[in-house]
Amino acid sequence: MSEPKSGPKPRYNLETAKILLVEPAAHGLEILSQIFTGFGAKAPFRATNAEDAKTVVKKTDLDLIVCESQLEGDMDGYDFVNWLRHCKIEPNNFTTVMIISGHTQKSKVEKARDCGANFIVAKPLTPKVMIDRVIWVARENRSFIECPNYLGPDRRFHSIGPPPNTEGRRSDDLPLEVGEAVEPNLSQDDIDAMLQPKRVTR
């Protein structure tokens, strides 16, 4: 994401944002913490496992959660986000979540896709990549989707309809087949009149 070349550059304020950083490794948590305080965040909440993160979620209304995918204990980062989306603790169940991940095991790719995070950021983390992603998630206005096997931000980024070879499950999904015309076709004059507006003379 680049800033406009002319005019005042947009400013982003993380001073009052309530941010929770979840990372099991001490050095990893320190890296995250330094990046966000460098962005201007004041004393982000820190947790090293899902249980501690849950405690923060229950006590504080959060604006952003950044969570490592691999956590120690019964819950990994994907399980934690899945818990968050279903916990009914408003507004935190709708809070923006960025998962950060080094290498993702093949067996966990589907879990990552379905956990309900807004964004997955690959390590190594760099300040430029992180600020771009933070601004991106701050600008997005995706609805949440709730269905039997998913609760989280709409994963359809573009209006391209339902996945290929499916009917679509949403009430606003249009059928793939285009129906028969119910009125006569427009004449060429009608089309020209629409596409070539004429100057009005008085």
Binding site: M1, I31, G40, A138
Partner: protein, 162 residues
């Protein structure tokens, strides 16, 4: 057909970042880079500790079942992926990512290849201790060698000897 419900939600982060004041992207990046520079030395020390732990796991393979060794190495190598870039050793991070790829394949296949593991450990040590001396071309050569090993393992072939 299952029911799908759309819920409009307020983006709380958007409201927070729009508050007066704040930083431009360039200022935010510079601020974070300065903060990371403060912990660069700690990151290098952490990398050395992790490498020592990895070597210990490999050198004492009888202490734990092979699957546990693979899982332990995977976790440690993934830590290297997260730290190396901050410590200014981006190529070491790539080598660690390749090692994770290899170990994930072992975990998936229930297999093990000591030569492939040794090649990766040697690569990581070299990229940590002699990164500047071997130069960009040397680092690229090491990485290409590691990637080739992983490709061969995934294809079911034996890697070249370590």
């Amino acid at each position: 057909m299952s029911a799908v419900k759309k819920i409009r939600v307020k983006n709380r982060l958007a409201a927070a970042v729009r508050a007066p004041g704040g930083k431009t992207i360039a200022e935010a990046v510079a601020g974070a880079e300065a903060k990371l520079e403060d912990i660069r030395g700690d990151c290098l020390a952490s990398l050395d500790q992790i490498l020592a732990s990895m070597a210990e796991l490999i050198e004492n393979p009888d202490q734990a079942p092979r699957e546990e060794v693979a899982a332990g190495l995977y976790e440690l190598s993934n830590d290297v992926v997260g730290i190396a870039g901050v410590a200014g050793l981006g190529d070491m991070g790539k080598a660690a990512f390749s090692f994770c790829d290899l170990l994930d394949a072992f975990i998936e296949q229930g297999s093990w290849n000591a030569a492939a593991v040794e090649v990766h450990m040697n690569g990581l040590k070299l990229l940590r201790s002699m990164s500047d001396k071997i130069g960009e071309a040397g680092r690229a050569q090491i990485l290409e060698g590691l990637f080739a090993v992983v490709r061969r393992i995934k294809a079911g072939a034996a890697p070249p000897s370590a």
